[in-house]
Amino acid sequence: MSSVSQELKDTSVASSKWLDAHYDPVANLYTFSSCIALSDLHGDGENKLVVGDLGTGVCNMKLKVYRGTGLLSESTLLDLPTGMVSFLMDLHEPRTPAIAVASGPFIYVYKNLRPYFKFTLPSLEVNPLEQDVWSQAKEDMIDPMTLKEMLEGLRDKAEIPLSVRSLRFLMLEPQEMENFVLLHKEQPIRRQTVITCIGTLKKNMADEDAVSCLVIGTENGDVYILDPEAFTILYKMSLPSTPTLMDVTGQFDVEFRITVACRNGNIYILRRDSPKPKYCIELSSHPVGLVRIGKNVVVGCSHEALHGYTQKGKKLWTAYLPAPVTTMALMDLPTRGFQAVLVGLANCEVHMYRDKNLVSTIKTPDVVTSICFGRYGREDGTLIMTTKGGGLIVKILKRTAVFEDRDSAPGPPIAQSIRLNVPKKTKLYVDQTLRERENAVAMHRAFQMDLSRLRLAAARAYVKALESSLTPMSASLTEPLKMNAVVQGLGPSFKLTLNIQNTAACRPVMNLAISFLYDENLYSMKTAFFKIPLLVPGLNYPIDTFVECLSDKGISDIIKVFVLREGKSAPLLTAHINMPVSEGLALN
């Protein structure tokens, strides 16, 4: 696919803090912030953009490398990437970083853009009972149905969860089970977990180009720290839930801190020398993005809010956002000592927050799904964003740009100063109030008398309507029904839809029938009387029937519908249908 590059030049460029370097709306990049990194892959002092492209989620997963505005290389990934980092794994010269792509239970390590190593997560302990059951199945001692029952029993009781194979087996239809067992019974059972997030941790030096360890979080709630050269597990920690977002700081040999946002909506802070989380932050809604600024943690939550916490889990502030968060990233400009959080929002904006203050807003042509800020090429302050539609946006921070910190909520709310449009008191109104004041007693009497008469008239009409069941809802307590009729069609054939509903709380209604009253010279109906089924309360029963108009004179009439109860002559309720004029014959 050829890429269309486009320079956006508009009037706001002059006042903006960003230069629009590149925008390609059809870059065909579908990725998230966890799968995007900037790295000097070739050691030539020029940073490349490395993207783990998710493709369609089923195929076209690729590892793409961009230089400048062009694609440098791409290599196919076997499975969906869940995370990608670039890290230095040894001290050999030239110091070229490796790329680690996590997908499934594996970490693929690339060096010089070539596959270098594949790390597999250690397999988990398998339930011995499950093993037993499968070995019985292998020897054909039990049939698939018994196998299913036993596995279901295990699933409900056992402490160690079932393997993927057993779970898949339980999902199958009975006729497919036999084949599945035949196909898989020879292989041993394994229980494998998958990687959910990945990060890096400096080994023993805080330098920019120090050797880093990989830190991975897995589906079953473990966090592993891997040795950068041998890829052995150096340290293992466990969490109460599955980690989704991860931030790592410190050095492995000295002191480190891993902040992990988990799927149960909690954030755990892990430290060296404790295999269990040290602090826990309970959020009120699910975390969407996690960024650490200095010693504080900023979390974007699904209920459109941004929270700031200290390292020890103390809440500092909350900022409310205009739209849901799609992604978050850190903006770190060490040369200027400036740090901020970039928050991608679902309303096509990227907000920049410094603490709880909004310092800048970037409007984007599409919803941003991933953000990465850093050195790209030879430019230090480059902002790279990919969009929901697969676009790639590159912006460069102007060197003159200054971000002013200001408190975002000064003074009273704007609504206070909006004047309400209250109509003026007219002279007429004043006159009328005068009249009211002078003749208050007479007016009151007249009104009260009229009101009594109205009550009487209404009651009479109401009783009449009830007695002849004219209303479209029945008044009886035993059969609280409601009906409304809809006519459809142009004629001469019309479709009548009677929507009948039982409005009782829990009692069904039965033994009902429907009959129609109409002018037989004008309309004909195949069945003018039929029974209706038992009516379950709360459900709408649409009953269709067809009416034929016999006249070609363009006349219409009313059709009356009665809902009757067996053994009672008076209808429960009546609906009047104003039939439309039949157009069908008139047009011919």
Binding site: A458, A461, M473, N484, G489, Q501, G538, K553, I577
Partner: protein
């Protein structure tokens, strides 16, 4: 039978025609024609009399058929720019009252004070809504519908068959005789509603007149309009205007533009017309109507006031200004306008209905209920009766008599089974009684009967929220938001629900 020698019969016929005794005129002419079948004067007079009997002002008659609306070829942009289309609801310029204050029609426009063919029916969004016929039937095309009914009605009254047999008519012969062709055309167009033959005749006649007769061009334009050939109609009307400036032609031209959904052009046409015919009432009314349909109530009221300066008995202008005052919270002024209508001799159920409501909201309680009593006495159809009971229900709610309100709303439903507003209000009353199932059913019915109303959706959202069915509440609130995006309470409930969904 004794024949009295009196006036010359043809003169008598002509005189009765001028006195609008058309049946008598036609009878005399028939007699004359039976004596001398070739009497052109009598023939022409009879055609005229017969036409006048069923004549409807062509400018006012406008009913968009289902086919015209659903299979619209002339619409270009699906989403028109605000303020340029009559079809897009919500193209208000901020001066329009919200639906919370002033009820909406199905097309998303505030209801007007005067019922016109185009105000009756909104534009349905789906075919299903289009062919559903809750109140009045919508014709298939604008060429059928009302016109067919009129045509067949004239046939019904004439058991011997039609006066002129169109299929045997030699149109070319008649086209050459200008004294006969015009009456014949009107007969074919208005009485027979045979637009194709009328078009043929008009085409031949305009050719005979060497394309210089503005009258024939206007008639051609009318025929094209009826056939749905709007651009051709526009051409004919424009050409007619170059020959002769005429108010009617301007009105027809503006009507074409309104049908083409070009309200701005229509306004320009009206303004051109006003340059030639300053302060012409029909043109001013046209402008006011377009402003009203585009939700621009302030301008509409200004133009209606202009109309009233010229013609202080203009019913439509008085009614529209009155209703606008009523909905902008000045019922005492509205009362003045409606009283004026009453003094002018407009004496119907709707007017008393409005008077009653105005009296109530202007705190003139002694006259409120007696107005409604009169309205009830003047009722001519079930629908009117339903509307009166519905308004009485509102009064009852206002004075806090909920039993009476309940009875009134139920009566409204008894008379008009498709009264969505009454269903909605009844549901609220049922909810207050604690009958949740009933309330739910009524709200669902109200929502299905009048999908343009936001109230049933909002009430359903509130109800579901209260009973804990948050998913239904959210869906109903979204529908309510579609119907009335600025509704603060809906926004509030949506916000609460979103928060509820995202919290752990």
């Amino acid at each position: 039978m004794e024949v009295r020698v009196s006036m010359e019969p043809l003169f008598l016929a002509w005189s009765s025609c001028r006195r609008r005794r058309f049946q008598r005129c036609a009878d005399i002419c028939s007699q004359l024609l039976s004596e001398s079948p070739c009497d052109q004067a009598a023939w022409s007079l009879k055609t005229r009399a017969l036409t006048e009997m069923v004549y409807i002002d062509e400018v006012e008659v406008d009913q968009e058929g289902i086919a015209d609306m659903m299979l619209d070829e002339s619409s270009i942009a699906q989403v028109a720019r605000p303020g340029t289309s009559l079809r897009l609801p919500g193209t208000s310029q901020g001066s329009a009252p919200t639906p919370a204050v002033r009820p909406m029609t199905q097309s998303g426009r505030p209801i007007t004070g005067f019922v016109r063919p185009s105000t009756l029916s909104g534009r349905p969004e789906t075919m299903e809504q289009a062919i559903r016929t809750p109140r009045t039937a919508r014709p298939v095309t604008s060429a059928s519908g009302r016109f067919v009914r009129l045509g067949t009605a004239s046939m019904l009254t004439n058991p011997d068959g039609p006066f002129i047999n169109l299929s045997r008519l030699n149109l070319a012969k008649y086209a050459k005789r200008p004294n006969l062709s015009k009456t014949l055309f009107e007969y074919i167009f208005h009485l027979e509603n045979d637009v194709k033959n009328a078009l043929d005749l008009a085409a031949l006649a305009t050719e005979q007149a060497q394309f210089k007769d503005w009258w024939w061009k206007v008639q051609l334009g009318k025929c094209y309009y009826r056939l749905g050939l709007h651009r051709e109609a526009e051409k004919q009307f424009r050409s007619a205007l170059t020959h002769q400036e005429f108010v009617d032609t301007y009105l027809y031209l503006a009507k074409v533009y309104q049908r083409l959904d070009q309200p701005i052009t229509a306004l320009n046409v009206f303004k051109q017309g006003l340059d030639h015919f300053p302060a012409e009432v029909t043109l001013l009314t046209g402008i006011a109507r377009i402003h009203e349909e585009m939700n621009n109530m302030t301008s509409a009221t200004e133009y209606y006031k202009e109309v009233l300066k010229q013609d202080n008995t203009h019913v439509e202008a008085i009614a529209c200004i009155g209703s606008n005052h009523f909905y902008s919270d000045q019922p005492e002024i509205a009362l003045r306008f409606y009283r004026r209508l009453l003094q002018m001799g407009v004496f119907n159920c709707q007017l008393y209905n409005n008077l009653g409501l105005c009296c109530f909201y202007a705190q003139q309680y002694d006259m409120t209920l007696s107005s409604f009593e009169r309205a009830l006495a003047l009722v001519s159809s079930d629908e009117e009766q339903a509307d009166i009971w519905y308004n009485l229900g509102h009064i009852a709610v206002g004075i806090g008599d909920l039993t009476l309100a309940y009875q009134c709303f139920k009566l409204a439903l008894a008379f008009n089974n498709n009264h969505g507003e009454a269903y909605n209000n009844l549901a609220v009353l049922e909810l207050r009684k604690g009958r949740i199932e009933q309330a739910k059913a009524f709200l669902q019915t109200a929502a299905s009967l009048s999908p343009h109303m936001y109230e049933p959706h909002f009430n359903f959202a509130m109800l579901s929220d209260k009973v804990g069915d948050l998913q239904s509440s959210y869906m109903a609130a979204q529908k309510s938001e579609d119907a009335f995006p600025e509704h603060v309470d809906t926004q509030q409930i949506l916000k609460n629900l979103r928060q509820h969904f995202s919290t752990l």
